[in-house]
């Protein structure tokens, strides 16, 4: 009887232990990290960007795009402070991330050596060409600020009527703003037919009258901006008040204003209102005021996860979705090839993303291609201009010629 009782207890214990044991499904969780400014300076861009990243990874998991495997991306606010970014990155390393998404130019430059040391593939939200110097592991998602500024300069040269166009550059007083200046100058030296009259590093200006009057007296016809929306909005308002804004591209006696990725989008229209009319802007992202397959998908994704209209229609939401798409795609490719998903294999997959293996994310106007010598994802740019309060496409997507000539 005693033996029987012991046997029953042993059986019950065995069943209990078996039930308590985790069922091994073979599902993997891939850890990623994103550190960016959700609060603090430039959070107007960082906030929708973070939402884009978060939503796309949720979509990957919900739709089981990686089968049973899932992506666990930790998103942390760094308030645009490099010290916090560094701390976040180090904590992500402790968590065992296999891919890292960074944000600002300052922190990308500041952590470049760290990325090299730990051999971590990184995609930042900064398109500063200098990020790629002496770096093997940083990959720009789209054309660099330099390529964007050169693209705008080429558009000016091709579409200007009359003598050599006179151009001023209006830039942010930082590496982010200064980055393209030398490359535009090199393009001019290499034969791009325009004259750079001035390079202005702006401050927190309340009034740009003096600068604009100076431009006028020097015959400046075009201003190319590489900064954020707020200073551009103040400049456009002042130019509008002074009657200096060209109503058509290159209108004589007036100034045509153009800008790179972070100068434009709906935020510029929100800040500058009617003064933003006829502002020319370039980026590699699609925008929702030009509906298409990509924008439908973007809006559906935002709706699925309950985002408001402002985030859903932000080009920086598309920006966040796109970098998440690239990260998910390299994980998928590594899995398909039967590789273990590690930072090393994801790095290999990024380098192989070219030719037949180019990636078409639909959130951009061209394919994402990387190789050992090319760490700039989408090379193609699209020009947009504000027409009746909305950015509309101007021409077809293009690749700046002089970026190759000045290499």
């Amino acid at each position: 009887m005693k033996t029987y009782k012991i046997s029953i207890w042993l059986m019950v214990s065995l069943v209990a232990v078996m039930l308590a044991m985790p069922v091994s499904s073979g599902a993997e969780v891939y850890k990623l990290g994103l550190s960016l400014a959700i609060t603090g300076p430039t959070s107007d861009a960082g906030n929708p960007y973070a939402k884009g990243v978060e939503d796309y990874f949720r979509y990957v998991n919900d739709m089981k795009l990686l089968g049973k495997d899932t992506i666990d991306c930790t998103i942390r606010d760094d308030k645009y402070e490099t010290a916090i970014t560094k701390r976040n990155f180090e904590e992500y390393l402790d968590m065992g991330i296999v891919f890292y998404l960074n944000y600002s130019t300052g922190s990308t430059l500041g952590l470049k050596r760290d990325f090299e040391e730990v051999k971590m593939p990184v995609i930042p939200a900064s398109f500063h060409a200098g990020n790629l110097e002496e770096s093997n592991y940083i990959f720009l998602p789209i054309a660099s600020y330099s390529a964007q500024a050169i693209g705008l300069a080429e558009y000016v040269v091709k579409n200007h009527n009359g003598k050599t166009p006179k151009v001023a550059l209006f830039v942010h007083p930082s590496a982010f703003g200064r980055g393209p200046v030398d490359d535009v100058k090199k393009s001019v030296a290499a034969g791009l037919g325009m004259e750079i009259v001035e390079v202005v590093e702006h401050g927190k200006d309340l009034d740009n009258t003096a600068m604009l009057q100076r431009f006028k007296s020097k015959g400046v016809q075009y201003v190319i901006s590489q900064t954020v929306q707020s200073p551009v909005a103040v400049m456009l308002n002042d130019a509008s008040r002074l009657g200096l804004v060209a109503k058509t591209f290159g209108e004589k006696g007036k100034i045509t204003f153009l800008g790179c990725h972070y100068t434009g989008g709906n935020d510029l229209i929100a800040l500058a209102g009617d003064a933003a009319e006829n502002f020319y802007w370039t980026t590699s992202y699609i925008i929702t005021s030009e509906p298409g397959v990509g924008t439908d998908a973007q809006l559906a994704l935002a709706k699925r996860y309950g985002r408001d209209d402002k985030a859903a229609n932000s080009h920086n939401y598309a920006n966040g979705v796109m970098v998440a798409q690239v990260a998910a795609e390299v994980i998928k490719r590594a899995k398909t090839r039967g590789k273990e998903v590690t930072k090393e294999t994801l790095y290999e997959e990024l380098l192989a993303m070219n030719g037949m293996n180019a990636f078409y994310p639909v959130t951009t106007v061209g394919p994402v291609t990387y190789s050992k010598d090319d760490h700039q994802g989408v090379d193609t740019l699209q020009l947009y201009a504000v027409d009746k309060g909305q950015f509309k496409s101007v021409g077809t997507p293009f690749i700046p010629e002089y970026t190759g000539k000045i290499k």
């Binding site: 959700i38 609060t39 603090g40 300076p41 430039t42 959070s43 107007d44 960082g46 906030n47 007083p173 009259v197 001035e198 390079v199 202005v200 590093e201 401050g203 927190k204 200006d205 309340l206 009034d207 009258t209 003096a210 600068m211 009057q213 100076r214 007296s217 020097k218 929306q229 707020s230 909005a233 103040v234 308002n237 509008s240 008040r241 002074l242 009657g243 935020d267 929100a270 800040l271 500058a272 209102g273 009617d274 402002k310």
Partner: protein, 297 residues
């Protein structure tokens, strides 16, 4: 010549807005000797309240502007009562540290709202065409900004010179103990100083927001941008804030208009005001109109 006068007009416009933003600093320092480092956050708060009342509550913007000043008046008074009143009599540095903490708290609260990370602009309520006279232009927004600045400065000057409360505030600023001994309520004076500073900050925020658009980083930066104006004018002088504001505005415009882009010079509009400030402080360490205190031992 119209170029010169255009720069003068622009300099006065910018300077007036600097002065309006600087008044809040002066009001608090004048009565309590405290530098409120959260002033930029209060400027931004005032602007966002005006916007919310106008766009969300559909209240006419002129009324929203007045209501925002009143709301910020009471908000600032509450802030003083909750966070700063218990520090009366404590070292000034402790109070300044609290204002740094206050800065973080207001930042955090604003980041909980869409204003923290989105951009907005006031609906147009003034004619969009500028006023142009003899080739010199000024927008209605700028003109209204200048008018509001001078009205408020006039009112505050009268308040400090003629009203009993204003004189009490000056008395507390001079000597807290002596003021108490003649029956002046120091806590009440401090509360009023913060409240009036809040009122002026709301006005400044609404004017700046109309010019630059509503971007939190841009708005709260004005708390720091106007700091040289406050120092140059003399920390406790309203007249000093106005004169220094206009001097700074004019220097920036003239530097930008005549120096930048010429003689190989760039960025002088950003640097020259600070150089002037340094040079002037060598000769007048209390600023242009600051009180020169003589301490007898």
């Amino acid at each position: 010549m119209s170029y010169f006068f255009q720069l003068v007009v622009s300099g006065i416009v910018v300077g007036s807005i600097y002065a309006l933003s600087a008044i809040g600093f002066v009001l608090i320092y004048k009565s309590s000797r405290v530098l409120n480092l959260a002033h930029g956050q209060i400027i931004a708060t005032g602007a966002f309240i005006t916007y919310s009342l106008t766009v969300t509550a559909h209240i006419p913007i002129y009324l929203s502007f007045l209501m925002s000043m009143i709301i910020t008046f009471f908000l600032a008074m509450s802030v003083e009562k909750i966070f700063l009143r218990r520090l009366i009599g404590e070292p000034i540095i402790s109070v300044i540290m609290v204002t740094i903490g206050l800065m973080s708290i207001i930042d955090g609260l604003i980041y909980l709202t869409p204003f923290g990370s989105e951009n907005f602009s006031f609906p147009p309520f003034l004619p969009q065409q500028p006023i142009v006279y003899a080739g010199i232009s000024i927008s209605y927004t700028q003109l209204v900004g200048v008018i509001i600045t001078f009205i408020l400065i006039g009112l505050f000057s009268w308040f400090f010179k003629k009203s009993t409360v204003g004189i009490s505030m000056r008395a507390v600023s001079d000597d807290q103990l002596a003021s108490m001994s003649i029956g002046v309520s120091v806590p009440r004076v401090f509360g009023l100083a913060w409240a009036t500073a809040g009122l002026s900050a709301a006005a400044a925020g609404s004017v700046i927001g109309n010019i630059t658009g509503l971007n939190f980083s841009t708005l709260h930066a004005f708390g720091i941008i106007v700091f040289p104006v406050v120092i140059l004018g003399g920390l406790d002088s309203l007249l000093g804030a106005v004169v220094a504001g206009i001097i700074m505005g004019l220097i920036q415009q003239f530097a930008s208009g005549y120096l930048d882009g010429n003689f190989g010079l760039y960025g002088t509009a950003q640097v020259l005001p600070y150089i002037l400030l340094l040079v002037l402080l060598l000769f007048k360490p209390h600023g242009l109109f600051g009180t020169h205190e003589i301490e007898r031992v």
